[in-house]
Symmetry: C2
Subunit: 255 residues, 2 copies
C-alpha cells in the first residue's frame, strides 16, 4: 500500500462494477482492483466483487438515505483526499460509470484538483438483464431504438415530461423505477402507449436472486408489488411480446 | 476438442466481445473463450480478443459485403451445425450481443433446433467511447435519458421517421452511422434540433487507433469526412458542450 508523496497525488480509476455477478467485471477492472491501494465503492456493489481487491482498503461511499447533493460533494472530497494519500485509487461504481452514475461530478472534481482520472467501462444492468431473459433489446422489424432513462416526476402539466421521449422509442428501459410503477404506468398511458404493451420487470440482474417477470404496461404496479430491496429495471416494448404472451399474468418467467 | 455425440448437441454461448480492446471482455467471456472448442466470430472482432481462445477453431462469419438476410440464415445454420459437432460453441459478437446484433434470430434458431443457449453480456461501444472521452452520457441538470439507435432512411415523408424519437431524448447515440452524416444532420434539424447542438464522433472506441472529434450537429458531415474503415459512433447532446466548446472546429480532442 505505497503512499503517494503529498506533492504528487495518485491516480483515480472510475471503474464499472457491472450488474452484480463478479465474473461480469472486465479483465481490466479485475486487474485494477487487484492492484488498488484503496477502493471507494457504491453501497450496492456485491461482496464477491470487492473480494477481487483483497489487499486494498475498502470504503463504502453509498448514498442510501443521505441527502444526495451534500453526499455527492462529500464523495468527491473523499476521492480527492484518497488520491493525496494513495498511489492507486479505484472508485467502484455499479453498472457502467457513465450511465446514471454521477460520474461527471467526480471526474470534474478530480480534474479541478489536478488529479489524473481514467474511466473503465462496465456492464450496465440492462445488458445483464437482457442476457438472462434471452431477449434482445433490438430486433429486426420490431425495434431499432432503445431509450435508457430515469423518470423524475414534476408538478402539474410537467408531471410526465419524462414520458414523451420514452414513448417515442421502440424499446424503453427505466432504471431506478421499481418503486414508481404507478406513476410510470400513468405517464406512459398519457403519452399514448397502449395498456397491452409488453413489459418485463427484472430484479437483481445477473445475481443468484434474479427474478424476471413478464406482463403488460397496464399490470406494472402489480408486477412490482412484490419487489424486494434489490435494484429493478422496468423494460417495455414489442420485443417482449413473446415473454409476455407466455406469462400474461405477470408470473415469473425466470427466478 | 471433444466432439459431442450427434444425438446430444453441445451448448452455444453468445458472448459479447466488447468495444475492441481485449481487456474489456468480461472475466466470464474470457473463461468461456479459453474453454471453447470452436469460436464463430464477427468480422470486426479484434485479433487480440481471438487470442483468448488459442486452442479453439476460429471461424469468421462476418456479414461484410454479403446479402444480409441470406447471410444471417447461413450464420444461424452454421451455429446449429457447430453445436452438433462440438460440446462448447462460442458465438462471439462485437459489443453487447443484445444491442444491434441480430442476436434474437440466432437465439431463436438455436432453441428451435433444441440447442441450449446462454448469453454473456459485453461492453457496447458507447460505453468504451464515453469512458475514453471522460464524458458521462447522463448528467445532473443536463441529461436524464439516452437513446441508442441505428437510423434507417425511408422514402418521402417517412424518410426521417427515425429522427423524432432520437430528437426527444437528452443524449443521442447513433450506431453504424459514420457514412450517413449528411442525412442524419438533415433529419435531426428537421426534427427541431439546433445546428449548434454539441456532438462528438468516436472512431475505433477503446482501440489504439481511437479518435474522438468534437463539434456541432451542423458540422457532422465535415467531422465524419475523414473517418476510416473502423466502426464509428455519432453522439449528440448538451452533455458534449464542454468538449465542443473546447474544439468547436471539429479538431480531434483525443487520438
Amino acid at each position: 500500500m505505497p503512499a503517494a508523496a503529498s506533492s504528487t497525488p495518485g491516480k483515480v480509476w472510475l471503474v464499472g462494477a457491472g450488474p452484480g455477478a463478479a465474473d461480469l467485471l472486465t479483465l481490466r477492472a479485475a486487474r485494477l482492483l487487484a492492484q488498488a491501494d484503496i477502493v471507494l465503492h457504491d453501497a450496492l456493489v456485491h461482496p464477491d466483487v470487492l473480494a477481487l481487491a483483497p489487499q486494498a482498503i475498502h470504503v463504502p461511499v453509498g448514498k442510501r438515505g443521505g441527502r444526495p447533493s451534500t453526499t455527492q460533494r462529500f464523495i468527491n472530497k473523499r476521492l480527492v483526499d484518497a488520491a493525496h494519500r494513495h498511489a492507486r485509487v479505484v472508485r467502484l461504481k455499479g453498472g457502467d460509470p457513465m450511465l446514471f452514475g454521477r460520474a461527471q461530478e467526480e471526474i470534474d472534481a478530480l480534474r479541478d484538483a489536478g488529479i489524473e482520472v481514467e474511466v473503465v467501462p462496465g456492464i450496465s444492468a440492462v445488458f445483464g438483464a437482457s442476457a438472462d431473459a434471452l431477449q434482445s433489446l433490438t430486433q429486426r422489424g420490431l425495434s431499432r431504438s432503445v431509450i435508457l432513462l430515469t423518470p423524475r416526476f414534476g408538478e402539474g402539466e410537467s408531471r410526465h415530461d419524462w414520458a414523451r421521449p420514452a414513448a417515442a422509442a421502440d424499446t424503453i428501459v427505466l432504471y431506478m423505477a421499481g418503486r414508481s410503477a404507478e406513476p410510470i404506468r400513468e405517464g406512459l398511458l398519457a403519452a399514448g402507449l397502449p395498456p397491452g404493451l409488453p413489459a418485463i420487470v427484472v430484479e437483481n440482474a445477473s445475481l443468484p436472486g434474479e427474478r424476471i417477470q413478464a406482463g403488460r404496461l397496464g399490470d406494472l404496479p402489480a408486477m412490482t408489488r412484490a419487489l424486494g430491496d434489490g435494484p429493478a429495471l422496468l423494460m417495455l416494448g414489442a420485443v417482449y411480446e413473446a415473454l409476455a404472451g407466455r406469462r400474461a399474468d405477470g408470473e415469473a418467467v425466470a427466478a
